[in-house]
Symmetry: C2
Subunit: 346 residues, 2 copies
């Protein structure tokens, strides 16, 4: 199966991630059969699709056939034979919605258990050539299925329609030809798939992100970063709205590390820092790096401590109380569209 | 002292960081007195300045007075009375160069020891109102000076002329008025200063970066990421040159996390992930985050192990052997200029 043979996609779950996958599939001219048993899911999805059409880069579909190719169904079972690929996003949907995807699973309160039963059902009722892709933030697929044939886990990033990275992770039993076919498919949608060689909790991106979050929580909890800001600096008024006065830690990322990481990853950044020689970098800056890591290990944020977590929540909530989430999301989409365009020009 | 009163800046050390500070100061119309005893430092600096003029955003100086305002001196001591601010960058310069900044320190082979003696000398010979700023990647300034009056540590990021973030860290004994004056000055140059409330090894940005590097080293060492890539995806040919086929781990950053972090830092990203509620995010995704962090702690890259480090160097060197560093740096500058422009528009 090649990417070009994938014409009809099934989407199970239309939470934020599922809806943005649906928007992307439709914008690329695919036929999409969608299900989500959550109350009001269909109208919410339509609202999302209309709002986000313009933000999708390199669209193929016109505004008209963008929506015409969508079929929302109450039960996807009768359609399983028509699909070329299933994008399972139920973990990302609300728990209430997930529980009702298939009536047989209405009594499944635990997500992993629910997912296992959902995949067993899909395995039993889907032709063997159909690629089954699961959006997960870090669950290795061998925990979901005993005998996988063609499933691949993808850690999606928001907004799915904009970010270049589709996701990662391959089940050890997933055939290479299926990985290749899935990569070709996602690449044809403008995604940039990353393959994980060995199953790893959190795959790659979420582990890197977790590392940053853990240290950020520690720095905020320990009072290392200031809550106050001394001005808007070079930020535009709109950007300053959510970046000044309460997000000093975040500014370290948005005005520094993030800008650089949007161009060069950690290894290339090390390489540039070492004048083109990674060994030189390690010999030269390794000892400093080690001393910071030792200090960080000594001051790890304790994810087991309810007190630490509640204190952190209180601190953060005070800082972010005035954030306009909808406006921020809109600004993010504008920014990412511009950024991806800059990237594609160099 | 306000930022507008800073007209003449001294730069000690003209390695990569010192040279880019010099370029920025000159481009902003300041008079700059520079010293670096390394052989060929003056001609190398001139070469750097000419090459990088165009890449500096929002220049005030014309190409002519950009270079006219520069004075390269063998010994900066006679000029200390004329300076409004000293940008000390000797740690970033080559060790050989550092040792010879002041003849009295020629026998100082240890950087920390050298820095201490340099600052003691500057303290003794500089008028009290002069701000002394030290570029350091993570040395708390109380380790450098016993009685600081007006010094601030700044962790610079490459390229200094482009990145919005100047740096961070304040000495606990540094007066608030000096911190404010320094922030105003750097902000007037287009930087976005971050204040560290309590001295911390590695400040903020380098700790976040270290967290990512440590996990990246672990993932590469453990063979989790694939060395091969399946194609160039959406990357342009130029970008693919250093991004495909050998930098799968880096792609996770440049095609995903980095793009997002260029817009929203870790806390805002959590907030968006929690639908505007950090507490919801923590309750909802905290357990998954914890499970990944536990797994990461179990598989930490051992910075003490020579074997692990040598194996990593070998793996990375194989991957990056064909990288054209000069071209990559040029692409980075083009990309960051465009990115900062997109940022300022939203």
């Amino acid at each position: 199966m090649t990417s070009t043979s994938i014409k009809t996609v099934g989407v199970i779950g239309t939470g934020v991630i599922g809806a943005s996958w649906t928007a992307l599939f439709l914008a690329k001219g695919l036929r999409v059969i969608v299900t989500d048993p959550a109350p009001g899911a269909e109208s919410k999805l339509h609202e999302y699709l209309k709002k986000n059409y313009l933000a999708i880069p390199n669209k193929i579909a016109t505004p008209e056939n963008y929506l015409q190719n969508l079929t929302f169904v109450e039960d996807i079972d009768p359609y399983l034979g028509e699909l070329d690929l299933i994008q399972e996003v139920s973990k990302m949907a609300s728990q209430e919605g997930v529980k009702k995807v298939l009536t047989t699973f209405q009594n499944g309160p635990e997500r992993l258990d629910f997912k296992r039963r959902l995949f067993a059902h899909l395995d039993a009722n889907t032709p063997e050539h159909v690629l089954i892709a699961s959006s997960s933030s870090g669950l290795p697929s061998s925990e979901l299925r005993e005998k996988p044939i063609s499933d691949i886990d993808w850690a999606s990033f928001q907004p799915t329609a904009l970010n270049t990275l589709s996701g990662d992770s391959s089940h050890p039993k997933t055939g290479d030809e299926n990985v290749t076919a899935a990569c070709e498919f996602y690449r044809s949608l403008g995604k940039d798939p990353v393959i994980v060689k060995k199953e790893t909790a959190g795959f790659i991106a979420n582990r890197l992100q977790a590392a940053v979050c853990a240290e950020a929580y520690s720095l905020i909890s320990r009072g290392i970063v200031s809550a106050e800001d001394l001005g808007k600096g070079v930020l535009s008024a709109k950007l300053a709205q959510f970046d000044s006065n309460f997000m000093v830690l975040d500014k370290t990322m948005t005005s520094g590390l993030g800008l650089r990481w949007a161009f060069s990853g950690p290894i290339m950044t090390n390489l540039l820092g070492g004048g083109g020689d990674f060994g030189h970098f390690m010999d030269h800056l390794g000892p400093a790096l080690k001393s910071w890591l030792d200090d960080m290990n000594q001051h790890q944020f304790n994810m087991d401590s309810t007190t630490e977590k509640e204190n952190l929540k209180e601190k953060v909530n005070q800082l972010v109380s005035h954030v306009d989430i909808e406006k921020t999301e809109k600004n993010r989409d504008t920014f990412l569209t511009g950024l991806i365009s800059v990237r594609s020009e160099i």
